[in-house]
């Protein structure tokens, strides 16, 4: 129920209880949240947290793989005396970012969302990695997920 009870900052005008109760009743949500919405959100969370855990494993295995590749390379160089190649840098990108990079050019921008939208419109054969939000379907929600990743402020400052 609405209340005029204590708040951390305490100060400020209070409302009569009947008013705050009626305000609360008027605006009390009439929206029932279906269980499938809960499932979708929690599944999205599960995928993301699992992706983070998997990316740690991927990083470990990729590091082992890179070390092995570097060793093989060194051995082949000793035999062939060719110009050395740089060791392969293991990918550290989380699985989610890899999925968002729909066009595979190494960065996530609006063209990835655009590419996914065109695939969906053209009814191209669905690819598992296009299910960016992990809800089991490939649709506008995935396009929006990629687009929002593209415009996220966490990308850094103007270069």
């Amino acid at each position: 129920m609405g209340n005029t009870a204590n708040h951390p900052d305490g100060t400020g005008p209070e409302a009569p209880k009947a008013l705050s109760d009626d305000l609360w009743s008027l605006y009390r949500s009439r929206v029932h949240v279906p269980p499938e919405v809960d499932r979708a959100v929690l599944e999205m969370a599960r995928s993301r947290f699992a992706g983070r855990r998997r990316s740690v494993l991927v990083l470990r295995w990729a590091t082992v793989g890179a070390a092995a590749a570097a060793l093989l390379l060194a051995l082949s160089l000793m035999v062939q005396q060719e110009r050395p190649l740089a060791p392969r840098i293991p990918s550290t990108r989380p699985e989610a970012a890899v999925r968002q990079d729909v066009d595979g050019n190494g960065r996530v921008d609006i063209l990835d969302a655009f590419a996914l939208a065109r695939h969906i419109e053209a009814r191209d054969k669905r690819r598992h990695e296009w299910d960016v939000n992990g809800d089991g379907d490939v649709n506008q929600a995935d396009v929006d997920t990629v687009a929002m990743a593209a415009v996220s402020l966490e990308k850094g400052t103007l270069q």
């Binding site: 708040h7 009569p16 605006y27 997920t145 929002m148």
Partner: protein, 180 residues
């Protein structure tokens, strides 16, 4: 029903930063109804409110790891929900019938007469005053929380709230609330 998690929002965010999926679920369950209620207030549409609910928590999810919460989660999420909801409502209105002014959704139909009159008075309150009034008495947010969520000075919040209550007191349809 799962037992309620006793940890604070800050503790749950810290745990989620460390990869604790259960902590995120606890945050979702704790704040789900508030988010959907707020979204419905702005959109007036159940479908849009549910979309905004999912978008809001998708947004929150992307913040981990690395989110540092210095207030309650509702303060952090309020502007996110508001703007996602306004965008959803705008899209719906543009599809429905060209340009329309954006504003918080009107109060739903009130079942009883006093509430009908309260709803009518709220409809004509300036949006900024109505918003603060509802954040205070429906969302149960403190004044400092409201100031932080809206990014306005505390004095502005107090002034808007004062003026909103004054308007309700002056209006003959809602004056009775203030009579002893």
């Amino acid at each position: 029903m799962a037992q309620l998690d006793p940890r604070s929002d800050e503790a749950l965010v810290e745990a989620a930063n460390r990869g604790d999926e259960g902590a995120f679920e606890a945050l979702y369950r704790r704040h789900r109804d508030w988010v959907v209620r707020l979204a419905f207030r702005f959109t007036g549409s159940e479908a849009d409110a549910l979309d905004v609910l999912q978008d809001t928590f998708a947004y929150l999810l992307r913040k981990f790891p690395g989110l540092r919460l210095t207030s309650r989660l509702t303060t952090f999420l309020y502007p996110v929900v508001k703007h996602l909801a306004i965008r959803a409502a705008r899209k719906r209105r543009q599809h429905a019938s060209g340009d329309q002014a954006l504003s918080e959704a009107q109060a739903p139909d009130a079942p009883s007469q006093p509430r009908e009159e309260l709803a009518a008075v709220l409809r004509v309150l300036p949006e900024a005053q109505r918003e603060v009034l509802l954040m205070r008495f429906v969302d149960d947010m403190g004044l400092r929380q409201i100031a932080e969520a809206l990014d306005v000075p505390l004095g502005t919040v107090k002034s808007r709230l004062h003026n909103a209550l004054k308007a309700l007191r002056k209006d003959e349809r809602t004056r009775a609330y203030f009579l002893e």
